[in-house]
């Protein structure tokens, strides 16, 4: 049933896309076939792979930083309540921040290099990773904590045996959300900050009105993001097997 529904939705999407290209809904709107052909040509030429390697560097740097900083910070915020109350205000502001507006500031502060792009990816993803980790700790069932305390559990045991396992589902959800935001940040940075990697390919195809190549690059980015999110979902299922 699920498989049939998925297949039907994909077919419906492709039909709609084909219709949009035949009308066409805008100048030079590419069909799914033209996009696929362009994608194959881009992969064969090596342009797409080298752009992907460049983009993944800033993604790994930025999202890696968001995980390394965001998860522990979120956990500390949850465990040490005063820290949580103070830091939450800043996180709320960061989430509401129109991040694209930061770009000129980032250029001036970090220069025009991969670090700048990684900073944008970090700013896009870190608040969500942190907030979810924080929320995970806040959602730990008080009765579990009380029970552990009744059994004389130490503070360390309380954190490792009760708080962390309980917060893990939310932490993992935060990582998935943060990763999808990281991809958004990556493309924003590469389009607005300084065109390189996949953003540069998109920009060049757009400038030349090669919309099939542009769509192919966007599709490739979606596939990459989809693959990364699936991998993370698998890891999540593995780590949370105990819940089943």
């Amino acid at each position: 049933m699920v498989f049939a529904l998925r297949t039907a939705s994909v077919v419906a999407f492709l039909l709609l896309w084909e219709w949009a290209a035949r009308v066409p809904i805008s100048f030079n709107f590419p069909s799914p076939g033209a996009t696929l052909t362009a994608l194959i040509a881009l992969v064969r030429s090596g342009a797409l792979l080298s752009a992907t390697v460049t983009s993944l560097q800033s993604l790994l740097l930025g999202f890696g930083g968001a995980v390394v900083v965001g998860v522990p910070l979120g956990l500390v915020m949850g465990v040490v309540r005063p820290v949580g109350r103070v830091a939450r205000v800043y996180l709320d502001l960061l989430i509401a921040l129109p991040t694209a507006a930061l770009i000129p500031l980032v250029i001036l502060s970090f220069g025009i290099n991969i670090a700048s792009s990684a900073v944008i990816v970090f700013v896009f993803s870190a608040p969500f990773v942190t907030m979810n980790a924080y929320g995970g700790v806040r959602d730990v069932r008080p009765r579990l904590v009380e029970m552990a305390q009744a059994f004389d559990a130490s503070w360390g045991q309380l954190v490792t045996r009760i708080v962390l396992p309980s917060a893990l589902p939310m932490v993992m959800a935060g990582l998935r959300y943060g990763l999808s935001r990281a991809f958004v940040g990556l493309i924003v940075a590469e389009l607005l900050l300084s065109p390189f990697g996949l953003g540069r390919l998109i920009m060049m195809s757009r400038s030349m009105f090669e919309h099939d190549r542009m769509f192919a690059t966007v599709l490739w980015t979606l596939l990459l993001a989809g693959a990364a999110l699936t991998a993370l979902a698998r890891l999540e299922a593995r780590l949370l097997r105990w819940r089943a």
Binding site: F27, L108, G111, S194, S207
Partner: protein, 329 residues
């Protein structure tokens, strides 16, 4: 008379008065121009549009979009009848877009400015040079120029935020050189006198930097309006070239935040890039071929050059008609 009747009579009187009163004259014609964010270099064009409004009663709306590609797409789709056409104008036509260039808005307004320590073009090799984006006009000019400078390969970094952002990057030391427009060069000189200098000047290149692009359907249905538009543009260019104060005076609310004297000095520096004959020589004949050969050389058009005819890109009829009326310079 009851209240109901009184209200009815009053409403009737109001209706009669409204119906009999003079009606505002409907604007005879309307035009929407799509452009990238307004800069000093666009002012003569804006003044031309204001003349069209004032003298010919055409209602003009100017809408800014972020990128030249977006402008081109919107003109192709008819969301605006006219637009400013930069580098993406050429590949758009190659892909079958129904648009035509009817007037050259400007020749290149760009220069490469570098730190004083970089004494010559050879010194650009290996240094960080800020440019706009991979297929922007300024980058195309830079690539074209560097082909004539063997062994000079700067480390080009793209800052697609416009000339002011590149000027800021140069001033802050984020890059060693930058390609931007003449007005940004003036700003750099004002803010850091003696620290930077112009290494390459693209303003004498015999190519069009931007053109006034018209939607094909619109050009066919309203040829007389296109001609009026071209004529007012020429009027603005000619009067402003004689005295740039004219552009400052007639700018209306455009660039009101810039001091008049400063604006006038920036415009005075730019006068040389505005052709008083609307760039006719680069839209037909050998000049047009040279113009197109530049686009082929930088990859905006596929080769060979022989497959391109100027009339595929430019419609010179409105400009020629306007020049016939007001005379060539």
């Amino acid at each position: 008379m009851t209240n109901g009747r009184r209200t009815f009579v009053l409403a009737l009187i109001a209706l009669v008065l409204f119906g009999a009163g003079p009606r505002p004259a409907a604007a005879a014609e309307e035009l929407t121009l799509l452009a990238t964010v307004t800069r000093v270099v666009n002012l003569p064009m804006i003044v031309g549009l204001r003349l069209l409004e004032k003298e010919d009663g055409v209602k003009v709306t100017v809408k800014d979009l972020r990128t030249p590609e977006a402008v081109m797409l919107a003109v192709i789709d008819g969301q605006g009848q006219i637009g400013t056409g930069f580098a993406p104008f050429y590949p758009a036509i190659e892909k079958g877009a129904s648009v035509k260039g009817v007037l050259e808005l400007s020749r290149p307004e760009f220069v490469v400015m570098a730190k004083k320590e970089i004494a010559s073009v050879k010194g650009l090799h290996g240094v960080r040079l800020a440019s706009h984006s991979p297929k922007a006009t300024v980058q195309s000019l830079l690539e074209f120029y560097l082909k004539s400078q063997p062994g000079v390969t700067p480390n080009v970094v793209f800052i697609p935020e416009g000339s002011p952002a590149r000027a800021e990057a140069l001033l802050r030391g984020a890059v060693d050189a930058a390609a931007f427009d003449l007005t940004a060069a003036q700003v750099v000189n004002d803010r850091a006198p003696g620290k930077f200098h112009i290494l390459v000047d693209f303003t004498d290149q015999p190519v069009s930097s931007s053109s006034l692009v018209v939607n094909g359907n619109f050009a066919r249905s309203k040829p007389e309006l296109v001609q009026k538009l071209v004529r007012r543009m020429l009027q603005s260019y000619r009067e402003g070239a004689r005295d740039p104060k004219f552009w400052v005076r007639e700018r209306g609310e455009t660039l009101k935040e810039i001091d008049g004297a400063k604006l006038e000095s920036q415009l005075r520096a730019l006068v040389k890039i505005f052709d008083l004959n609307g760039g006719l020589d680069r839209m037909r004949g050998p000049g047009a071929i040279e113009n197109l050969s530049f686009q082929v050389a930088i990859g905006n058009l596929t080769g060979p050059l022989s497959k391109w005819k100027p009339e595929t890109f430019f419609d010179t009829a409105p400009l020629e008609a306007a020049l016939k009326d007001i005379g060539k310079r």
